[in-house]
Symmetry: D3
């Protein structure tokens, strides 16, 4: 099986669903990551967008290597992501590239903009996956993937439908997140906790809700022809 995790920024995957990806990997499935932005703007640590992007893409590649995932960068500007034909095309390409049975992505109701747009556009293009006349560069695919939304930052406005126990891969998830070294100072500008700390508190809380030590939480997207199959979750 192929599993594609799509996120708005480098570190979204590691924060929100890397545990689930690692469970899939453990079960012998192929895992893919696509990022709509390389987080090139939302940082005050660097002097140029290019410098940030270069740093963050490298961090993402390091994290992906650790997890055994392939990565595709869509390279839109962050903090300004919008629902454009170009973004839709890039996301269709990414989905066709991964040929997934399961897609994990940000929640469209996430109060954080880039997350919401990423989640919304992925949902919007589901019907475009099989069409040969769709504006896209990758050939159509004929799978009907299940789409699950992972949580929002620190769980605000998110009531989970289903959980995945990630206890036995949690340490590796944490290591993968730790690859995003550039994010540890920056986040302090507007947040009270550092990223590893956020991870620990959130995943423990979801674990507590789910009845295990560490968990990740999801909601499902429902669309005619693409109804979620909960049994595909690890």
């Amino acid at each position: 099986m192929n599993v594609l995790a799509i996120g708005a920024h480098p570190d979204d995957i590691e924060v929100f669903c890397a545990g689930t990806l690692l469970k899939y990997k453990q079960q012998g499935h192929n895992i893919f990551i696509a990022l709509t932005t390389s987080g090139n703007i939302g940082s005050n640590e660097y002097e140029s967008r290019e410098a940030i992007a270069a740093q963050r893409e490298q961090e993402q590649l390091d994290a992906a290597k650790l997890m055994g995932a392939e990565v595709r960068f869509l390279r839109f500007d962050d903090q300004g992501l919008q629902d454009t034909p170009e973004l839709r095309r890039a996301i269709i390409n990414a989905i066709r590239w991964a040929n997934p049975d399961v897609i994990l992505v940000n929640y469209p109701e996430d109060p954080s903009t880039d997350h919401a747009i990423t989640g919304k556009v992925v949902s919007q293009v589901m019907l475009s996956i099989p069409g040969k006349l769709i504006p896209a560069d990758e050939p159509p695919i004929d799978k009907n993937p299940s789409l699950f939304y992972y949580g929002t930052p620190v769980g605000i406005g998110f009531l989970p439908e289903v959980y995945v126990d990630i206890t036995d891969v949690y340490e590796l998830k944490k290591e993968a997140l730790a690859m995003h070294t550039s994010q540890f100072n920056w986040m302090d500008v507007y947040q009270t906790h550092n990223l590893l700390n956020i991870l620990d508190i959130t995943d423990k809380f979801r674990g507590l809700q789910a009845g295990c030590e560490y968990a990740e939480a999801f909601r499902a997207f429902r669309l005619h022809g693409y109804m979620p199959n909960f049994k595909l979750l690890p």
Copy 2:
């Protein structure tokens, strides 16, 4: 695995979740049915409550025999079901009797009263299953069953979370429902369709949503210590 379906009236099980029960049976699980009422009041076809109840219990036993299910009648008055200590006790007894891994029951937001009360009280007693001092007649059990709500009459106010494909057991489900012969005239008093017709339209519609010929639809109950495991659905 043991699966317990609880309903408010004889025929609720056959209308709303018998397909899922039959799938469980097919997979080798034990199936149990408990009814909070024997539908002894909500009918104009008979002269006494006793006569109706006798007729309907026999119909339920016939349906259960066809499905290979055990039945327990709680025998509260229908059309007047209320959340009382007696009802809670009887439901705790029924759950302990079946010792279930999965419970299926009416939806607490069902606009039909007896259904709503049945769904609500089953949800309310989940935490009382293991307690040895709980007012009850059956001994405590130590399972943490997953609880799923089946649909409402003709789907009003019900947005499904998950579906079960019942195509290959649909004919048997229909036969089981057909055992409830007393319900075919009576329902015409206030409904425009007969019961088999309702079944056919509803299950085809749920099948259409789910991407199969016939389906049943469910929502999950979420409670600390009793979180739903979607993988237990057939």
Copy 3:
């Protein structure tokens, strides 16, 4: 056509739906009022429950006379109304008595208890109207009335679905409310506005929303066999 308005207290009808009743009356329909309590407890102006009830029932009769409505008092204690078999029976009786095509009642999600219970129990007994074995004193009826919920006190938590323009009967509605003289001092204990003032502000606001001078607002109850017919509203 027969229209039945059910309320928790004397003055509920006049506050929430008397305009709509008067429109029905204007169109030649018969209008009925039933009250679950005579407001015998929730007042500090009188020394005994009996004294309050006597006063308030007389006020209600005066208001009803002005409107041309028949009244039935169910006489449960207010501020303590509960969903009991006795209340259900009394409400079934009241509905059968009025033999209504349309029922108007408090909203079951009203944060005020007596209102919520009244709205909930009326909804709960809809399926019991036609049953001859149902515990009741009035004979079964075979209508399938549409049920609409009128607003909550000062509109808290209430998003209307549909409005009735009551501009041309507003003055009469106000006169009817003014009959409830005992309520004008008492309400001041916990409210900042007197009752006529509340009426004026609320009905003007609903009128503003609806695009007329004065309006009343409603939501519909949906139940298989008793689906709301919006065209029955005046």
Copy 4:
């Protein structure tokens, strides 16, 4: 009275609201259809967008002729519809062209993108109908139409507020849908049922809910100055 049905694709009208249109026609009203796209992309049966569009527009004209409706094609690309100034202008034009008392359109929460965008933009331009400086090519109109949303594909995520009984025009509706011959193979790529089958199951289910044989279901849009008048429904 003029009634305008707006849809995202040829066949949306026939699937979701043609019965209601035919009821209006039966009552002597004028009916109009506007389509935001000609479905020129979301199909694998043809080699070019132009070929599909030509075929599908002809099918739509045939269906409209059968129903006695006028048609306006807005000709945006499907599977990529976005909320742009051009789409808003074209929709304003279409509304002004039809000068409607009632508008029927896709639901803005439809999980299918083109549907959602069409429903959202129609809602968004309501306030622009009367403005003479609004960017548009048709002259302002001064009606305040009621706007109703018809259902989503196979009813996913849609809880109806109101129903229209279409039993006596259902056969004609089905014939109109059958004009869309190009959609019968294509839909099989990702759906398990063909279009006439979907129609039959869905309209029977809505009929079952409404208490008739076949029905269509709607929700209302609420906006100051454009509040829905349920009595305008047939």
Copy 5:
């Protein structure tokens, strides 16, 4: 100012809102605790209801002493709490006893029954506080307290509206909870985490959401005459 925290079981206060109580205490306010049950049934550690209740009441008194709170036990049976006239009367008494400006109580939508009933009945009796004819043993009071709901077990189904930073009293809260020694073994029957662990994970998670180290989360109850004043929160 007087602040009253009402809970369903000994330890509810300490788990859900003791931090907020301690903040009030710190600010010089008087704090009161009332419990609808003494948790006399939902435990398998003891042989009789009386033994459990005695033990748990002592634990609660120890915790309250530590916090500087007065306690009132209403002593209904737990795991079977129902909305009865007796419970309403006891809760009215408790509120009049504390004469509170702020009330904190369980959430009426809590999936745990005793919690839900406690939260619902407290909300239901708000209008009965000032009435002199209300069935009660304590004299009427004339305050209009703000009512806030604290969270559900491990936050299931609870989206907070407002948070209280409890960082500087967290250690004392934890000590107070630790007084409930009887709850540490029992909870293990159906839960994966012990109570102090649950506290730590939940309060850290709410702190993370709120932007501090430890927090408690609340929703407000809205009722005419008793609207919540958020500024009364510490």
Copy 6:
């Protein structure tokens, strides 16, 4: 403290939140107003967009002068506002210009388009306030303002979370609104009440709900790092 009110049109501030601004002013805080459009299109009273905009900006300046507020015009076309990079940039500029501790803005779920877009984009750019590489012309600021949504036109679809008593500044608010003389004829095209009348009815209704004579109503936006502090409301 600095408080910034953002609106879609001249008069939005005066209709929806000027009372709250005036309370802030009264308390010695600085108040700022930013408008995404100058209402240059949605009017039939003038012959050109420029003429309308000039008139309405002058009216807004007069109103602001009366209130003691500074104003910034973003000058996008109204009735056609869309979520573009230019709008986002202009809003980021406006926020950085005012350097606010509290932001008040239209509700993103407002059924009126320009309002919804304004509310949505303000919410979307919150995370962009501190970033030095963000496309913007004003320098980054390091405050984490609380964001509150004020009501929708005539309150449709809006359930308030919190109220501000504006009784003692209501007359001044009304005077400020009266400065928008151009809006008094135009609104009559599609509305039944003039603007001062609307103000009076709405603010009295919100006052009635809140327990005072006149009030304004708000909901809060919740985002990690920018959680609302209700105590900052006047």
